[in-house]
C-alpha cells in the first residue's frame, strides 16, 4: 500500500482512526501525528488521548488538555501548512468525569442522579464496573464523532490491561445491564421463577452472605441500591452502547497497529494483530515506532556483526580527520571510535530489522501499509517534532536519523 492510499483509507474515508498497541510504544505521539496529517489534508481532526503527561499539551502548544477539546491556534496551523478548511484539536480523557457525565445525561431525575453519584459502589466501581473505563473512552469517541465538529477523531486507545478491552467494553456493559444478576437484584420476585435462579439463590446468595459476614461490608445492599438507581438509565445507556459498538466495529472506523521495534514489542504487536481479526475489523496499516534506520540507505557489509572494515579504509579516514581537525585528538583513535560508533548504531539497525521482519512480511503480503518512524535522539516535544513524525509515517522525506539536522 502506498503512503497516499494509506492516508486516503485511514484519514480521508473514515470518521474514526483507532491506534492500537501495547503500552510504551509511543501511541500517543503517533496518534497526534496522524491527526496533524489529517489536518494537513484539510480535515477537521481531533486527537483523543489518555496520556496524562503534559508533554502532548506542550508539543501541541496548547495550555493544557482537559476533558473538553482544545483547538490549536490558527497561526500554528498555518506554519505547518494546514489549509484553511483543516483544523486540529486535542482532548485528554478524564475517565471518571466522562462516566459522571453519562450518569447526568441518562439519570431519570435529579434524585436518581444524586443517588447514583453518592452510592459507595458507584464511587468505587465507576472505574471497575464491567469495563467502564474503556467504555467511557469509547463513549467520548462517539460523542465527539456525533458532535459534527470534527471530520476525523483519532483515538489513542486506553491503557487497558488487555489492549483490546475497549472493543469489548460496550458489549460487556450491555451484557452486564441485561444480565440475570442485575435483574435478580432489581426484581427478586420477578426473577424467582426463572431458570438458573435456584443455583443463584442457594449458592451465590450464601456466598455473598458469607462474604458480608467475613467482610462486614453490606455489599449486597449497596450493589442492589446502585443497580436500582441505574435501572432507569439503562434503556438509554443500552441504546447508546449499541451505537458506540456499531461506530467502532463498522466501516466508519479504521485501525492502525503501532508497534515498538524490540523483539518483545513485536511479539505483543503480532498477538494483537491476530486478536483484532477476531473482532471482524481490518488493520489499515502497521507503524513501527522508534526504529533505528541506516542514514544513507544500505548498511555497508563491513559494519555487519562479525565483519571488520579494511585497516587501509580506517587509515584513510584518519588521514582525512588529521587534515580536517589537526593532530588532536589522535586521528587514528578518532577514526577507530567513529567506526565502532557506526558499528554500534548498525547493530541497533540490524536488531530492529531482525525483530520487525516477520511483521513487515505480513503487512506487505496482506497489502497493508508498512510505515517506520525513526528513533529520534531527543523526545518529540513540539509541533515541528510531531510534523517530522508525520513525515516519516507517510514517507514524505528521507530523514532516517530524524533529529540529526
Amino acid at each position: 500500500m502506498t503512503p497516499e492510499s494509506f492516508a486516503e483509507e485511514l484519514l480521508r474515508r473514515r470518521r474514526v482512526a483507532v491506534c492500537i498497541g501495547c503500552g510504551g510504544v509511543g501511541k500517543t505521539t503517533v496518534a497526534a501525528a496522524l491527526a496533524l496529517e489529517a489536518a494537513r489534508l484539510g480535515r477537521r481532526a481531533l486527537v483523543l488521548t489518555i496520556d496524562p503527561a503534559r508533554r502532548l499539551a506542550d508539543a501541541l502548544g496548547v495550555e493544557s488538555l482537559g476533558n473538553q477539546p482544545q483547538s490549536l491556534p490558527r497561526d500554528a496551523l498555518d506554519a505547518l501548512g494546514v489549509p484553511s478548511e483543516g483544523a486540529l484539536s486535542a482532548l485528554m480523557l478524564d475517565m471518571k468525569h466522562t462516566f459522571d457525565d453519562l450518569v447526568e445525561r441518562f439519570a431519570e431525575s435529579e434524585e436518581a442522579r444524586q443517588r447514583i453519584l453518592r452510592n459507595p459502589i458507584y464511587q468505587q466501581a465507576s472505574n471497575a464496573l464491567a469495563g467502564s473505563v474503556e467504555y467511557s473512552a469509547m463513549e467520548k469517541v462517539y460523542e465527539m464523532t456525533e458532535s459534527g465538529e470534527y471530520d476525523l477523531v483519532v483515538v489513542d486507545t486506553p491503557p487497558a490491561q488487555h489492549a483490546l478491552d475497549f472493543l469489548e467494553a460496550p458489549q460487556r456493559l450491555i451484557e452486564f445491564l441485561e444480565s440475570r444478576v442485575v435483574q435478580i437484584l432489581i426484581h427478586p420476585a420477578f426473577a424467582a421463577g426463572r431458570f438458573g435462579f435456584k443455583l443463584f439463590q442457594h449458592g451465590a446468595r450464601r456466598i455473598l452472605q458469607l462474604m458480608e459476614r467475613v467482610s462486614g461490608i453490606s455489599f449486597l445492599e449497596d450493589v442492589s441500591e446502585f443497580l436500582l438507581a441505574f435501572e432507569g438509565m439503562s434503556a438509554g445507556f443500552r441504546q447508546r452502547a449499541a451505537r458506540v459498538r456499531t461506530l467502532l466495529l463498522g466501516p466508519e472506523s479504521g485501525f492502525v497497529l503501532v508497534a515498538g521495534p524490540g523483539q518483545e514489542a513485536v511479539r505483543q504487536a503480532t498477538e494483537l494483530r491476530q486478536r483484532i481479526g477476531g473482532f471482524g475489523v481490518e488493520l489499515q496499516g502497521v507503524l513501527v515506532n522508534r526504529v533505528h534506520l541506516w542514514p544513507d540507505g544500505v548498511l555497508p557489509d563491513c559494519l555487519r556483526p562479525g565483519a571488520a572494515p579494511a585497516p587501509a579504509d580506517v587509515e584513510a579516514l584518519a588521514d582525512a580527520l588529521a587534515r580536517a581537525c589537526g593532530p588532536e585528538p589522535a586521528p587514528l583513535e578518532l577514526a577507530q571510535a567513529a567506526v565502532s560508533a557506526a558499528k554500534g548504531y548498525a547493530a541497533l539497525v540490524e536488531r530492529d530489522a531482525g525483530a520487525t521482519g516477520a511483521l513487515q512480511a505480513w503487512a506487505e503480503a496482506e497489502g497493508r501499509y508498512w510505515g517506520r518512524i525513526p528513533e529520534l535522539p531527543e523526545d518529540v516535544h513540539d509541533l515541528p517534532g510531531l510534523a517530522r513524525v508525520a513525515q516519516s509515517i507517510f514517507a514524505r522525506e528521507d530523514t532516517p536519523i530524524g533529529g540529526a539536522g
Binding site: C22, G23, G24, A53, R55, Q124, A125, A128, L129, A130, P159, Q161, E175, F176, S179, R180, V181, V182, F200, G203, A204, R206, L208, L210, V214, S215, G216, I217, W294, P295, D296, P300, C302, P309, A310, A312, D313, V314, A316, L317, A320, L321, A324, C325, P329, L334, A337, A338, A341, G344, Y345, L348, R351, A355, E378, D379, P400, I401, G403, A404
Partner: protein
C-alpha cells in the same frame, strides 16, 4: 550506583536476596517482567528457593524463563531447580480462601462457576487485589515439613505503575473500612507483611526516558505518602553505555568537520558516520539527564541495567541482567 541527594531518607540497604518478598513494579514497557524474571533467576542461582509470581491476564514471566514451555497457571510449576513460577488467578484464590473459611471448596467452586455470580464479582472493586495479596501472604507463610519457609524469596511481578499503587494500597483501605471479623484479621496480616521493611521491598523499574522517569518519581512519592512499603532503590533498565572511548566525547563534532560526502573505501560516508556518532551522543546525554532527574526526585540510589545490544531476551541475557542486579549491591 548514583548516590542519593543529601537529606534523602535512610536507605535500609539490605540485599535484595535477603528479602522474603520483592514486589517489582513499573510503567508498561519498562521491562518489569524481564527484571522480575532476571531477579528470580539470579536468586535461584545463588542457592535461594525462589517463587516468581505474576498476575494479570497473560503470563509474561514464564515465556521469558522457559521459552516454549507450558504456562505455570494458578497451580504453579517448577521451571528449574529452586525456581518455581505461579500465575495468580483471583477467582481461584477466592475459591481457595472461601473454601478454607467454609471448610470445603465444592460449593464455593460451583458458585464461582455460576455466570450470574461471576458477573456480580466483575463489578465488585478491590477484592481481586486483596485476594491476590492474600495469596502472596499465604505463599510467604508456607513451611516445609521440616519447618523452614517453603520459599526463601518470592518475586512478584505487580501491575504497572498507577495501578500498582492502588493495588498495594488495598489492604490499608480494607483494614480501615472493616472493623471486625476474620477478613480484618487476615487483611492486617497482609498489611503487616507488606509494611515490614525486613521482609518486603518494592522495586520500581524505570527507564532513562521522560515518561518513565516522571512516573517513577510519582510512584515513589505516592508509595511513601500512601502505602508505607519499603523502597530503597530504583532499577533503571536499558541504560546505554558511554558511546565513545574516554577523551573522545566530541567525536561527532570532529566528524562533522569532514567533507560529508567523503567515503573512505568500504566505509560509510562521513555524513553517515557523523550522524551515527551524533545520534549516540545525543541519546546518551538525554539518558544521563533522566538518570539524574530520577535520582534527584526520588532521593534513592539507582541500579543501572545495561541495554542488551542484541535486544534478545533469552535465559542467557536474563542471567547477565540478574547478575548486574545483584552485583550492584556489592559496589
Amino acid at each position: 550506583m548514583h548516590r542519593p541527594a543529601a537529606g534523602a531518607p535512610d536507605v535500609t540497604g539490605a540485599s535484595l536476596l535477603e528479602r522474603r518478598l520483592v514486589i517489582v513494579t513499573g510503567k508498561g514497557g519498562t521491562g518489569k517482567s524481564t527484571v522480575a524474571a532476571a531477579l528470580g533467576l539470579a536468586a535461584s542461582r545463588a542457592g535461594r528457593r525462589v517463587l516468581v509470581a505474576e498476575m494479570g491476564r497473560d503470563e509474561a514471566l514464564v515465556p521469558l524463563l522457559d521459552p516454549g514451555g507450558p504456562p505455570a497457571g494458578h497451580g504453579g510449576r517448577e521451571l528449574a531447580p529452586g525456581l518455581e513460577a505461579l500465575h495468580i488467578d483471583p477467582y481461584e484464590a477466592l475459591a481457595e480462601y472461601l473454601g478454607l473459611q467454609l471448610g470445603g471448596t465444592r460449593l464455593v467452586r460451583s458458585v464461582l462457576r455460576n455466570q450470574a455470580f461471576h458477573q456480580l464479582m466483575q463489578a465488585a472493586p478491590g477484592w481481586r487485589e486483596l485476594i491476590t495479596l492474600g495469596k502472596v501472604w499465604h505463599l510467604e507463610q508456607m513451611r516445609t515439613p521440616a519447618g523452614r519457609a517453603r520459599y526463601d524469596l518470592i518475586v512478584v511481578d505487580a501491575p504497572a505503575t498507577g495501578h500498582g499503587v492502588a493495588f498495594l494500597n488495598v489492604p490499608r483501605v480494607v483494614a480501615s473500612a472493616v472493623r471486625t471479623g476474620p477478613l480484618r484479621r487476615h487483611t492486617l496480616a497482609v498489611e503487616e507483611m507488606l509494611e515490614d521493611p525486613v521482609r518486603t521491598l518494592l522495586l520500581p523499574i524505570a527507564l532513562a526516558e521522560e515518561l518513565p522517569a516522571r512516573e517513577t518519581a510519582e510512584l515513589v512519592r505516592r508509595v511513601r505518602e500512601e502505602v508505607g512499603i519499603a523502597v530503597d532503590r530504583v532499577v533503571v533498565n536499558r541504560v546505554a553505555s558511554a558511546p565513545f572511548p574516554a577523551g573522545l566525547d566530541r567525536l561527532d563534532e570532529s566528524l562533522a568537520e569532514l567533507p560529508q560526502q567523503l567515503r573512505c573505501g568500504e566505509l560509510p560516508s562521513a555524513g553517515a558516520l557523523t550522524q551515527c556518532a551524533r545520534f549516540l551522543r545525543s541519546r546518551h546525554e538525554l539518558g544521563h539527564h533522566y538518570l539524574e532527574r530520577i535520582a534527584e526526585q526520588t532521593g534513592l540510589p539507582l541500579v543501572e541495567l545495561p541495554e542488551l545490544a542484541e535486544g534478545v531476551i533469552d535465559p542467557g541475557s536474563l542471567g547477565r541482567l540478574g547478575e548486574a542486579l545483584v552485583q550492584a549491591e556489592l559496589e
